[in-house]
Every structure is written in C-alpha cells, then in structure tokens.
Amino acid sequence: MGILSKKDAALILDPLADNNPITIQVLGICSALAITAELEASIVMAVSVLFVMGMGNVVISLMRNIIPSKIRIIVQLVVVATLVIVVDQVLKAFAYELSKTLSVFVGLIITNCIIMGRFEAFALANGPKRSFLDGIGNAAGYGFILVVIGFFRELLGSGTLLGIKVLGDPIEKTGLYAFGYENNGFMLLSPMALIVVGIIIWVQRSRNPALIEEN
C-alpha cells in the first residue's frame, strides 16, 4: 500500500473481514433485514452508507475537541440527520429518479447503529484522515455483507438478479423452471436475512477459529 501506512490500510481492510461490523460486531442488523430482498436495493444502501459514514466521520472528527461530552450522542445524531437530508434534497432537485429509489433508505441510514458506533468509538478520538478511512472501511464491510445477502435472497427468492431473470421464467416454465425448480418465497421474508447472516458468520468463524468467543 503505497499511499497508506500499514496501520491506515488496516483501518480499511479489517472491517471487511476479521472485524466486520455485521458478522463480528453484529451491528446494523435491522437495515440488513429490511432492504436485502433485492440486490439493487442492497447496492444503493451500501453506497449511501459509504457516503454518509465517510463524511460524518470526518465532520465528527473535526469537531471532536469542541463537542460537549454530555450531549455528544445528540450532536452525532444531528450530524447524520443533516447529512442525510442534504443529500436527499440535492438528489430531489438534480437527480429526481435516483432520489425516489433512495427515499426508503433515508430513515434507515439515520438509525443505522454502525454509523453512530463508529462516531462514538473512533471519530471522537482520532484525526480526520484516519476517521475517514475508518468510516469508509466499516461502510464497505457493511456493504459487502449486504450485497452478499441481497445476492442470495434475490437469486433464490425471485430467481432474478438486479431484476434480470437469470434462472428462466417461472410462469412460462423456461430455463431451470422447466425441470420443476421453484422459487423459495421464504427467502424474500426478513427471517431469511438473519439465517443468511448466520451462515456467513458460521463460515467465517470456522475458517478463522480465533474469532470464536470463549465461553
């Protein structure tokens, strides 16, 4: 890593695997359940969180020495909410179509506990550059898991990927459906998101036993 020191690079790379916000810290589960029935929605959410978390971490980090500790959580909420509203309004004016797809996510981004968690745990104690990298890293780790869940839920639940019928047409009985394959409607319901997360956690911990907590 030419530009980044080893320590800085770890800020981005750790959350992708061994310190993943969803599978290891088990944060942000609520939004992972809500929007992963489709791959497209997962990607949109991942990008939005990437933006808000990168920016938010920088803002909080710049203000870290002047934020009164008694109301720091409120300040963090205000920063996230402001950023989200600014993005929402600008998109509504200049990219109306895109803003319509995003409208569902606005509330979910504000309440995403990973964002608050990183503000609290990292940005309040570190400089803007490192905070930015940490924000990007954690958002990427979150987004990666979201995309994986979205991929399996859309593929097995609707037989499509990004809206394209990859397995054939279930009504015309073409492709895989000609052999009696059926979509699993259960994949579309939120419990399956948790089960998919569980499977990812299982795979990850059996590959790296160091991640298993002692009882």
Partner: protein, 258 residues
C-alpha cells in the same frame, strides 16, 4: 485545547449554536431548491397520469419507462383533453386539476368541507379515457396511483362493463423487493383489461392470494394475483381502488349511462 467542555453553560451554548447553524443550512437549502423540486414533482405527476392511459415508452415486457421529461408537458397537452373537478354535484373544468393535493382534500372532507375530486379526460387513438387519481395506505406509508378506465363499454353477458385500460402505482416507503414491487410493470400490467364492475356493482379490483390465476387470464373476476410477501401492501392497493371507485361512483355512473 483550553475549553472546558464539561461546563453546563458551554453545553447549552454549543447546542444553541449547533441548532442555529444546522437550521439555517437546511432552511437555506430547502428554499433554494424548492422551485426545482416542485417542478420535478409536477412533471412526475404528468408522467404518471399519461402512463396510466398508456402514453409511455414501455418496450416489450421490461421495466416501467415514462415519456421523457422534455416531452411530457407537450404530450400532456396533446393527450389530456380536459381536466374536471367534481365538487358535490358540480363538475367544473380546471387546467390545474392535476395539481390538487389529494391528501389535503381528504382532510378537508374529514373536517366536513366538500371534497374536490379531480378526473382527467384523455384521448388516444380515438379512444376516450377517464383517469382517476387514488390514494391509500400501504404497510409503512402512503401509496397512491392512477387508474384509467374506458368509456367504450364492452358488453359481457347481460352487463355493461367498465374496463381498466391502465394503472400506475407508487409508494412512499414500502419494503424494497416486496411491497415496493407494486410499481413494477408486471404487477401494474395485470390490471389492464380487468373490469371494475361486477353484476353492475362498482366493486373495483382486489389483489388476491390464491385465486388460482397466476397468469391473470381471467379478466372478469375482479382480481389480480398478489405479490408474495406483500400481503398488507396488496390489501392496501385493493382498499385504495375500492375507496376511490366508490368516491367517483356517481361520476362513473353518469358516463356509463351516456
């Protein structure tokens, strides 16, 4: 840094300054962008109304595609022959009827005032359409849409029928991949050709589970196949259609008897 951030006065001052800055920023942004945003919303309404009567750029069986924003104003003038506002028994023409806020009218009606009901009269390929706006509740938030019915009656058995020529649905916050699919073309296309009448009663069209007609070949059953995992949104759509049809029933009866 030398500031004591634990002092109460500092905390209160910080909160006050923060609120003023954030408030000013958001207020400035909102007023700077509001003209552009409401213009976008106006064009979207025109696109939606035209979509319901079949003026769109749909290709094959793909996704929903509206007439372009650069052409919509002109197309709206061409295809929409008249915009009517129903107020009690009174019917007036009003060129801005499509801008009527249904939510506001709904609360007016609750407050005991007469509700204004907009209807759009469209004409395409020598066919006349009546486009009715709808508004209802989904699982999380509001859903709305337009339904276009056809004046040319088709006689089915003993009944005159009122056939849906197209619908458009949209929503504020339904679950992506489940309820949000009401604005997918495969769902909206199912409504085309369905009748809103049953034995002369204005029953609307229900979104039904297990109606043994997933390909939607039966057009006289007043039902379309539901979306899996979106029961409450689907019920919301049924209720919305039913309620709007009942509001417009006197008007539809007048067209039907002409």
């Amino acid at each position: 840094m030398a500031i004591n951030t634990d002092k109460n006065t500092y905390t209160i001052a910080f909160a006050a300054v923060m609120v003023v800055i954030v408030g000013a920023l958001l207020a400035f942004l909102a007023s700077a962008l509001s003209a552009k945003i409401s213009e976008n919303e106006r064009l979207e309404k025109q696109q939606n109304i035209l979509y319901a009567m079949g003026v769109n750029e749909n290709e094959g069986s793909g996704s929903v595609s509206f007439i372009g924003t650069d052409k919509v104003a002109e197309a709206f003038n061409t295809y929409i022959k008249d915009q009517l506002v129903l107020e009690g028994d009174k019917v007036t023409s009003n060129d801005a009827a499509y801008l009527i806020d249904l939510k506001k009218e709904e609360s007016n009606a609750k407050a005991g005032k007469t509700r204004r009901l907009p209807v759009f009269v469209g004409e395409k390929d020598n066919k006349e359409f009546y486009i009715i706006p709808m508004r209802g509740k989904g699982l999380w938030d509001a859903i709305w849409g337009y339904v276009a019915v056809d004046k040319n009656m088709i006689v089915v058995a003993v009944d005159k029928n009122m056939i849906v020529q197209g619908v458009y649905f949209d929503h504020k916050g339904e679950t992506p991949g489940l309820g949000a699919n009401i604005k997918q073309r495969y769902f909206m296309d199912d409504f085309i050709g369905e009748s809103i009448l049953n034995n002369g009663n204005y029953v609307g069209i229900s979104v039904a589970k297990g109606n043994n007609d997933p390909a939607n070949e039966l057009k006289t059953d007043n039902e379309v196949d539901a979306l899996a995992g979106a029961t409450i949104t689907g019920d919301g759509v049924s209720a919305m259609i039913k309620q709007s049809i009942s509001l417009y029933k006197p008007f539809l009866q007048t067209i039907a008897s002409n």
